[in-house]
């Protein structure tokens, strides 16, 4: 049955308009090209269909529904591939692009195999070029370059958790761009730009991430790198592309904004705010289109005469951008955010049809899912009762309370302590405690997959030496201004470090919080004990933690003054497994922190 296709119609109209333009200008048909750019961002390795309640659904306008809208299920790499094929089939002048965070912070299937499934699937979908995002730097520059160039994961087991296909990993067939990330020689670590020519018309692409990326990732991962100002970088390369013959310039940037739209593809773009807005206004006239990301929001906007798009996250939506371009520039630019409608929908609005999975991509996804299941379902320990995080009391959904001590956080600190040699105590940052272990889940049996939900980041354990005085200062930073501004909860404000059993202390809630850096005085110093012995302010103590905290993450800057920082190379998840094996029927530990007043 032939159905109305608004996209095909819009292309026809654009081609007709372009033909008129050509006729009027006296040029040949080669002078005008209709070019389709298919864009995605923040895929985060969601090769499987995401849950409807977690990025796997969208609200669309629906004139056949009395309410005026419908919610439909979306996403899944095999469906993305199908939509890409469909969009490509409508215009041979096409390119698939990304705006970063395509990997990392992923579901277990991608995490277990060090993002190789994400890259493999994106290769098959036909991605051609993408900017880097902050998550591309989660495991540092070298790991990013491995994902680009191929090779097995350092420290991995070939055929088990890395290089699963013929003992090799080919890397990304698409090009990562990083125009504003330079090394000590002021050279970009990856190409800054990419060009593609369509029937004699060249389109230039600039890829970059937000300049504050170092604040979002491990310092060691970006050591020696400089993240330069976004707008000046864009304008520099846009001018270069123009002078090199590009007729259109598209920016792929891992930075974004947000609107208050209630359905997708609302081109009125209500209340656009966020970091992208001043950037758009600072971009030169050389730039025509900006494909953005990072905020996980969905929008199609016009700002400063340029098209601005973003698709949301997890591959739920693709943007289809149609440019009519002549040698002298872009004549028109339109975009639509198109849902990746999967087959889990039982009912769809009139005019919308579910995609059929791309068989090749589906087979690849299923191969990784099967391999991952075998690993995820491995029983690695047991619990005798629920081990939970501290949770916010009045939150509509169980949400961790970073101002309070929780049993799950304490257990994490305990396995940090057990996982490194010769530490005096251990600490975990509360934001790193991502889930709970629940007795009811599998009758107390804990699997590798369960542990990954608690500790999904693949952090390295680290040690650092602090004096007793510095330990007190570190504890005070829990409630000082920077952390007080960051989190609120049962204990007012701040971030409460989760201690191992070796560190106990009392703090006084009647003393002021939100003190200036260095001015806090809530810890009852005489109560602080390490290994059951009162703290010696002049003694040096070795603290076990993760690299994120040891490098001063979450405003615990005292860590930066520590000595003998050592990244052990031992993964938190491996230490967790070892601890669970050594402690069967684990029970929630008693609190180590006492609150006064």
């Amino acid at each position: 049955m032939k159905t109305f296709n608004p996209i095909a119609l819009s292309i026809s109209i654009a081609i007709a308009a372009a033909a008129i333009l050509v006729a009027c200008s006296g040029g040949t048909s080669q002078d005008v090209q209709i070019i389709r750019i298919i864009a995605m961002n923040d895929f985060h390795g969601n090769i499987e269909t995401p849950a409807a309640s977690n990025g796997g659904s969208v609200v669309v306008k629906d004139s056949t529904n009395p309410l005026g809208f419908s919610t439909i299920n979306t996403g899944g790499a095999a469906y993305i591939a199908a939509l890409v094929k469909k969009l490509k089939s409508e215009n041979a002048n096409n390119i698939v692009v990304g705006a970063g965070d395509l990997v990392s912070a992923s579901p277990v299937t991608a995490t277990l195999f060090h993002q190789e499934p994400s890259i493999d699937v994106l290769n098959q979908i036909g991605l051609e070029v993408s900017s880097v995002g902050n998550h591309e730097f989660d495991l540092g520059k070298d790991e990013l370059l491995r994902l680009q160039n191929g090779g097995c994961f350092k420290g991995g087991l070939v055929g088990t958790d890395t290089c699963l296909n013929n003992a090799s990993f080919v890397g990304a067939k698409f090009k990562y761009l990083a125009a504003n990330v330079v090394d000590s020689k002021n050279e970009t670590i990856l190409p800054a730009t990419y060009t593609k020519t369509f029937g004699g018309i060249t389109v230039g692409f600039i890829g970059l991430t937000f300049k504050d990326t170092p604040t979002a990732v491990l310092p060691s991962g970006v050591a020696g790198l400089t993240f330069q100002d976004e707008a000046s970088t864009i304008n520099k390369y846009a001018a270069q592309l123009r002078s090199g013959g590009a007729s259109a310039v598209v920016v792929l940037i891992h930075q974004g904004g947000q609107t208050t739209a209630t359905s997708i593809n609302d081109q009125s773009c209500p209340n656009l705010t966020g970091e992208i807005v001043p950037l758009m206004n600072a971009m030169s006239k050389d730039v025509d289109v900006v494909v953005s990301g990072h905020t996980h929001q969905e929008y199609v906007c016009k700002v400063n005469g340029k098209l601005l798009t973003s698709t949301g996250f997890y591959g739920s939506v693709l943007t289809s951008i149609d440019l009519t371009v002549t040698k002298s520039g872009v004549v028109s630019a339109t975009a639509n955010n198109i849902p990746v409608i999967n087959e889990t929908n039982t009912k769809l609005p009139a005019g919308l049809v579910a995609l059929t999975k791309d068989a090749t991509v589906d087979a690849t996804v299923q191969m990784y899912v099967t391999k991952a299941a075998a690993v995820k379902n491995l029983a690695v320990g047991s619990i005798s009762s629920d081990i939970k995080r501290a949770l916010l009391a009045n939150s509509s959904t169980p949400t961790r309370d970073e101002t309070a001590e929780g049993a799950m956080g304490d257990v994490m600190a305990d396995f940090f302590y057990a996982g490194v040699p010769k530490a005096d105590f251990a600490l975990q940052n509360p934001g790193g405690v991502r889930s709970d272990l629940l007795l009811a889940t599998a009758n107390g049996v804990v699997t590798y997959g369960d542990l990954l939900t608690v500790a999904p980041y693949g952090n390295d354990l680290a040690t650092i030496d602090l004096t007793g005085q510095q330990v007190i200062r570190l504890l005070e930073q829990q409630w000082e201004a920077a952390n007080c501004a960051a989190k609120t909860g049962a204990n007012g404000c701040g971030r409460m470090l989760q201690p191992s059993a070796q560190l106990t202390y009392t703090w006084d809630a009647s003393k002021p919080s939100n003190a200036a850096d260095g001015q806090g005085a809530r810890v009852v110093v005489s109560s602080v004990k390490i290994g059951g012995v009162p703290i010696d302010l002049n003694k040096t103590y070795r603290v076990a933690t993760v690299t994120f905290l040891a490098q001063g993450g979450d405003n615990f800057t005292v860590m930066k003054a520590g000595k003998n920082y050592t990244a052990t190379g031992y993964k938190d998840i491996d230490a967790f497994v070892a601890y669970m094996i050594a402690n069967p029927k684990l029970a929630p530990p008693t609190n180590r922190i006492t609150k006064l007043n």
Partner: protein
Amino acid sequence: MILVFVFGLLTSAFVHSGETPSKTAQESIGAQATVEHAKPSATKTMHACMKWVQMNVFEFEECVDEQLNLPKQSKAERLGISYMGFVGSLSAKRYGSQGSDLLAWKYAKLSNKIQKQLGLKDKELCAIVPGDCEVRMALTMQILKGPKPKPLTEAELSTAHKH
């Protein structure tokens, strides 16, 4: 000019008192004054909190609740904040953000309660935050009439990640 000033004072006093307005000829003007008082707090909340709407709405909720808990707020200001919380939740719901159903319900209930106390019509309420009022009002009606959404399970929550 003086009359406008006096009227502004009167409407301001009314809005801050939280009294339900009577059905007078000035009703629509009073409603407009309420909307004008609510708008700045909604805008302030938008700038402070919308950046926290990401793959889930938990930090967004924290931010909006902080705004609601600020001292010495008029009902109109609380309406602006809670309605922005609702619009932000709806905005997150459009792409399946975790927790957005339940949070939209929470702020829909709160803003609806204050809306009734202040005697605003749905269209007047919608004007506090510009956008697609047709879809938004339909969603509001559906949410208010529907059951309270179930909180996410621990398993559903376990996929949350740092941005």
